[in-house]
Point group: C2
Chain length 386, copies 2
């Protein structure tokens, strides 16, 4: 009666979330967060980066007050920030324990307050607990507010491999509060701007011009300009994820990773002493020079790119790009290209530039040109230093 | 220039996979599996349940031959089966290590051969490695071929909680090979039939009648009838997941979990000595009696349900439903209702029956009626034993 044959399963899953821009999210009169939590019986737990608690004294009390928590100690977990949280399985374990102890279910909320690494790790724990509890991200750095924090990924490092464990798990909501940017040190203030330059270069020439015109204001820590930069950068990232047809990266194309193959490797080689955004600035410079040397990008555009990076205070070269003994391109860097392919799988796909605002994907990089590009940056660096 | 406001992100993700029905999947002339692997450069690793390797001697060689593997030892991992694999974090670790060591990327394949627990654990590892590598499931039991193995979930147990860790991760493909059913012991042959009865009761009266008419053939281990049962049951599960609008269970409704709140608790209370399908038979019986006692289901339908279960050799009562000292309903069982709610979150939602083929969701169970239902099953059991 029932004849066995192949069954083709097919369905779609809808994902939607708000990214809200505000100030003083935990002020009791600010309703942004309360408006998002639509389940009165929901349990709420909070993971917060230690530095945020240190630089914003009173924030723990504010959070407890905002949610009228009566068990602050068991509901709020303070964690270390930076890449080290992603290398530490005990940190993941602690966050899972927080979820378990508080009986946080799939209709309850984990709120995470911190930089990109903390968002990644807490997001990973939230994604695997009960097959995914609701995660509200409150990113506290430029980088996480304009890029990773508004995206759909979670991850921790494992077997010494960056982001070896992770999921594609859109957040329940994201709240960008610019108050947290006030206490960033200079490197972290600057670092995230690299992602804005990156996305402008491949998507939006007008935005690139705007960044160029406003680089002095950014250096002067003009908050209004930074808020605008973050908004437009987040918007471009969200548009790409939402409309480019591959939000969960099933294919091999990753235009938003322009400049990132070298950046990932440089971060790793430096033992994460180079911040992600700083590494992206070098990676963007390298791939822009490669784009020029391979006949894609014209010289004026290249100069404008290197100028805006250096005007903003980014280094566009790092000694680790060269092998110390030979002063040739570092073989470890070249190996990063294969590792970049391996993480996503499929065919190597690297974004280069045709002109400012227009990218072009290629499936092969020429090692001689790459080597020349590294030498070019080494020389530019000397010129700039002088 | 860029005015910050709330950005509403919204996108859809497409999921599709084939469920193929075949025999002798690893016979070199069988192209079912080869047709699914569309990436010539892909790496292939295999996780296989120990009992399958034991009861199907030569299968490891067949697999190695099928894929022309030259590194069998490093590409095939033999794991223990049953619930214990889900309780053992080292098992997850071993599977992750297999993925890591073989540099399996997001365009490569992990093939898992085994029962539901092995599929769950290997599926979980595949889901979190590189944010999800391609998983091909080859379920080897009735239960996994007609229910869990064709679905979208992965999980392991943690903090002593069943399925505390997991993801919603549709497989890349599923291949149901009925050869594996030949070596099942009697309990495992029978056990999975409970899920077919369950889905028939809430979705398809014609299928229920068909099962009733074929219960003798099923007892006689008629493979053709079993293949038909598995096909229709898998089809009904896939249809529900694909068309009911909530494949990743964001809401509180879980019609496919008819009979499961008590089943989960009974499995746990028995230390997993009661198989999942056996527990589902008891859970289905309990909720059918409750449906009768609460005035939903008529007596004839109830009798037909209890008859088919007992004809197929299922116990419809288990001593753990009663408290030994008082012979009243076991309070631990009642607690299972709240735990069932907690795992999914939101409002308690339990499926009951209006008639055979038609369910009705309720948000509350009356404890007195529940107690009466347990007593009813206890008495029925005595009558059947006599």
């Amino acid at each position: 009666m029932y004849k066995a044959q192949t069954i083709q399963q097919h369905f779609q899953v809808d994902y939607s979330y708000k990214v809200v821009f505000t100030r003083n999210v935990f002020n009791e009169t600010n309703t942004a967060l309360k408006n998002i939590i639509n389940n009165d019986n929901a349990k709420i737990v909070v993971v917060i980066e230690r530095d945020i608690a240190v630089y914003h004294p009173g924030i723990i009390n504010d959070i407890a007050g905002y949610f009228q928590m009566d068990t602050v100690e068991s509901s709020i977990l303070i964690v270390k920030g930076g890449e080290s949280i992603k290398n530490d399985t005990r940190a993941t374990e602690e966050i899972l324990q927080l979820i378990h102890n508080n009986q946080v279910d799939r209709h309850s909320y984990l709120i995470v307050v911190g930089g990109g690494a903390v968002l990644d790790a807490a997001g990973y724990a939230a994604a695997i607990a009960h097959r995914g509890i609701r995660l509200i991200r409150i990113p506290t750095t430029v980088l996480s507010q304009n890029d990773s924090g508004v995206g759909v990924k979670t991850s921790v490092n494992y077997f010494g491999k960056k982001n070896f464990l992770g999921t594609f798990s859109p957040p329940y909501a994201v709240i960008n509060d610019s108050v947290f940017l006030e206490t960033l040190d200079e490197r972290n203030w600057r670092s995230g701007i690299a992602e804005a330059i990156k996305v402008a270069l491949i998507k939006d020439a007008v935005f690139f011009n705007w960044i160029t015109e406003n680089s002095r204001a950014l250096n002067d820590r003009n908050m209004e300009i930074m808020e605008q930069l973050i908004f437009r950068c987040a918007q471009l990232h969200l548009e790409h994820i939402g409309t480019a047809g591959d939000p969960f990266e099933k294919g091999s194309s990753r235009p938003l990773d322009f400049g990132h193959w070298a950046a990932h490797k440089l971060e790793y080689l430096s033992g994460y002493q180079v911040l992600h955004g700083e590494a992206v600035a070098v990676g963007v410079a390298l791939d822009a020079v490669y784009s020029r040397l391979s006949g894609r990008l014209d010289g004026t555009d290249l100069q404008r790119i290197l100028n805006v990076l250096t005007t903003l205070g980014f280094e566009i070269f790092h000694p680790l790009l060269l092998q110390e003994t030979t002063m040739e391109i570092n073989p470890a860097l070249v190996k990063g290209l294969e590792e970049f392919r391996e993480h996503l799988g499929g065919e190597l796909t690297v974004m280069l530039l045709r002109n400012i605002g227009t990218g072009e994907e290629v499936h092969h990089l020429n090692k001689n040109i790459l080597s020349e590009a590294v030498q070019y940056l080494a020389k530019s660096n000397v010129l700039i230093q002088e």
